[in-house]
Symmetry: C2
Subunit: 416 residues, 2 copies
């Protein structure tokens, strides 16, 4: 079964708002084993909507429309779709009462334009919206279906899963294909190396597709398996996942919804180890990422953003002489920062970064992008030097990622 | 002039990758005073590309296509467009040599599939790509134009501005409408209050549109002015901007590309003042945002992420008794943290946050979302208590934003 997605709104065609609904819906549709024929966005304009709907109905069996169901004058989706289908509008009394009740409950003044949200094309099947006032609806057009949902992502998402997908499943029940997908997240190798490594595996299983998605600074490899055989679909996926994992194991840090900071947090918690972080060039980004993990106070004791030399000396006990002799951006200073934060905080591990994020501050010996990252645990002192290209923000991002990766390697007992 | 945008790639129709090219191009096109007829995404599939192109050519004068110009087997855009237009492909010898040179320079092994990127439809005007190997091209179809560009955002953006827009300007020079746009960024008021305030201004100027775009935790009001009169277009924009500014001045913190951290940095630098930050619940996010500003070492002395009580005591000299009597999440502790970081770092201003970001840790007296933010300068001690809803990440985000907003208010001499 092929599905078309039509998103409506001047905010989309003006480039002001990123259309996130289409990719969300596409993902849901793919998971059901259906195909996306095309995704289209048009403005709040009657003829554009009619023409877009007409095209989408030609190339697909079901068209999902979102946006333009609000109470204001520029919300014209319901009226435009009804007109395009040659249907009259009627007021649904039950929905109208419910909208009025919402206004009363919230002490909002009722204005007549709000009654618009109780209008539906004749013959429409209403799709309920438990969290907002804009209900959706579906229309049968011969063997095809047009479904219209509000554009507010939070409302649309619930209505897709709970309201629309079951209707589509029932209507297009001949669809038997299952699609499953897994994401392998890699870090520390160039895309071309991963591409080549997977190419050499020479995987040729029916219905299996391997995709590359660079997500700076990570690379995500997505395995999709489509099959009419419910057992083969997962077996094929597992075979491919296993073979890729065997080959690229060292650089795989997580799968699917796991994050680098989540993985590191999991290891720290399971080992009951504690961590403190001393950041210079990453400016707090490592601490920010670690504290995004719920329950991070179990292992994250403190962080210091030691941007100035006096702060490195006062908060981290970095000797003035270390900075004088080697510079603030040096292996010696990085290690002293790591040792300093570990000792003063009494944690098991100290992690530190110092570098030149730019755009100013680079020299011939230490150009912009020079970064030292150190990890100490009272016995070991590990430090790596990097030379990154890219801009200030990306240098911060890849430095933070490398610091977490070094920590991950340490926690699983690998070379840092 | 109407423009259609066609983005190509299985990663788009599978929902794996968000299409950001369309909204970028739409924005560029609107700025030229042209309209977007529709934006469409299709997979790497010959018949979908042909059908999509055909539809787009019907509803617009120019079609901009991106994606599918790479060297791999699934990159079929050039061949599909040529076939749809009934044109043969030819190899451009100059481009081919250049691609080979790139391989040599980088010591990469040449494989024959890379020659594909030197193939163009007969009669195509090549659009140069100085940063990548995939050149674009444009084709005249009667009075209409089809332009094809690579999908890599960094390459596409340059080629749109420097390569394609000048061609379109020349080809469609009858276009006389000018569109200009400005964004007013607000914080600290609900959307409905801003909506009502602007509604009451009762602005009715020809060609002026006002849009609301919530960008958590900010709200952006975008004024668009379209006019054939080059003077009226900017005059109308200025009038509306002035009237909105008069009404909502207190909550406007920036315009257009300025950010909250950029504005705060500008004020700190112009006053030659220095800052240190002590973060608990924001976990380093304030330091991260401030250090994203180039040259932040001029004013940002240090940051401390004092997640544990011992770290609040050791690094910020918060008295144990203050924590014992009032709790770590309290006005007293927030002020002591702010005073502590200011004194130990010797800066003019100390800024601190302490709160419960959740999901665990809430109590009846201090539920999840309770946050104290304090600012001290040696004379004044300002502290505000907030009770936020939302999840852990959003509580961090809005707390960091409020801390920067309090700092902004302080720097312009307003009530905090």
């Amino acid at each position: 079964m092929k599905v078309g997605i039509l998103t409506i709104g001047n905010e989309l065609t003006s480039g002001m708002t990123q259309d996130t609904n289409s990719s969300y819906i596409a993902n849901e549709i793919k998971t059901e084993g259906w195909e996306i024929a095309a995704m289209m966005s048009v403005g709040d304009d009657e003829s554009s909507i009619a023409s877009g709907l007409d095209y989408m109905l030609k190339i697909s069996e079901a068209v999902i429309v979102t946006g333009g169901l609000g109470p204001t004058a520029d919300d014209i989706t319901t009226a435009s779709i009804a007109k395009a289908c040659g249907l009259n509008l009627y007021t649904d009394r039950v929905i109208l009462e419910r909208i009025k009740e919402r206004f009363e409950k919230r002490n909002l003044k009722w204005t007549e334009n709000n009654a618009k949200q109780a209008l539906f094309p004749e013959g429409a099947e209403i799709i309920d919206n438990p969290t907002g006032s804009a209900c959706g609806f579906s229309l049968e057009r011969g063997e095809k279906i047009v479904a219209v949902l509000p554009g507010v992502p939070g409302e649309m998402k619930w209505m897709i899963t709970e309201g629309l997908i079951p209707v589509l499943r029932w209507k297009f029940k001949e669809s038997e294909k299952t699609t499953i997908r897994t994401t392998i997240k890699l870090f520390g190798l160039p895309e071309s190396t991963i591409d080549e490594a997977i190419g050499q595996l020479d995987i040729d299983l029916p219905g299996v597709i391997i995709g590359f998605y660079p997500r700076f600074p990570e690379i995500h490899v997505v395995i999709t398996s489509v099959n009419t055989d419910r057992y083969a679909v997962s077996e094929n996926l597992e075979i491919v996942k296993m073979r890729i994992t065997e080959r690229l194991k060292k650089n795989i840090f997580a799968c699917d919804y796991e994050t680098m900071e989540g993985v590191v947090a999991k290891y720290l918690k399971s080992k009951s180890m504690t961590l403190a972080v001393a950041e210079s060039c990453t400016g707090g980004l490592i601490a920010d990422r670690l504290t995004n993990v719920p329950g991070s106070s179990d292992f994250f004791e403190r962080g210091v953003v030691a941007y100035s030399n006096p702060s490195k000396i006062a908060l981290l006990n970095v000797p003035q002489s270390t900075i004088d002799q080697n510079g603030a951006v040096s292996e010696e200073t990085a290690v002293a920062m790591s040792e300093g934060i570990r000792k003063t905080s009494g944690t098991d591990i100290g992690l530190s970064t110092t570098g030149i994020a730019g755009p100013a501050g680079g020299t011939l010996q230490k150009p912009v992008g020079t970064v030292y990252i150190a990890l100490t645990d009272g016995k070991r002192k590990a430090c790596r030097k990097f030379l990154f290209r890219w801009n200030r923000k990306r240098i911060k991002e890849i430095s933070a990622q490398w610091a977490l990766e070094m920590l991950r390697r340490y926690l699983i007992g690998r070379d840092i």
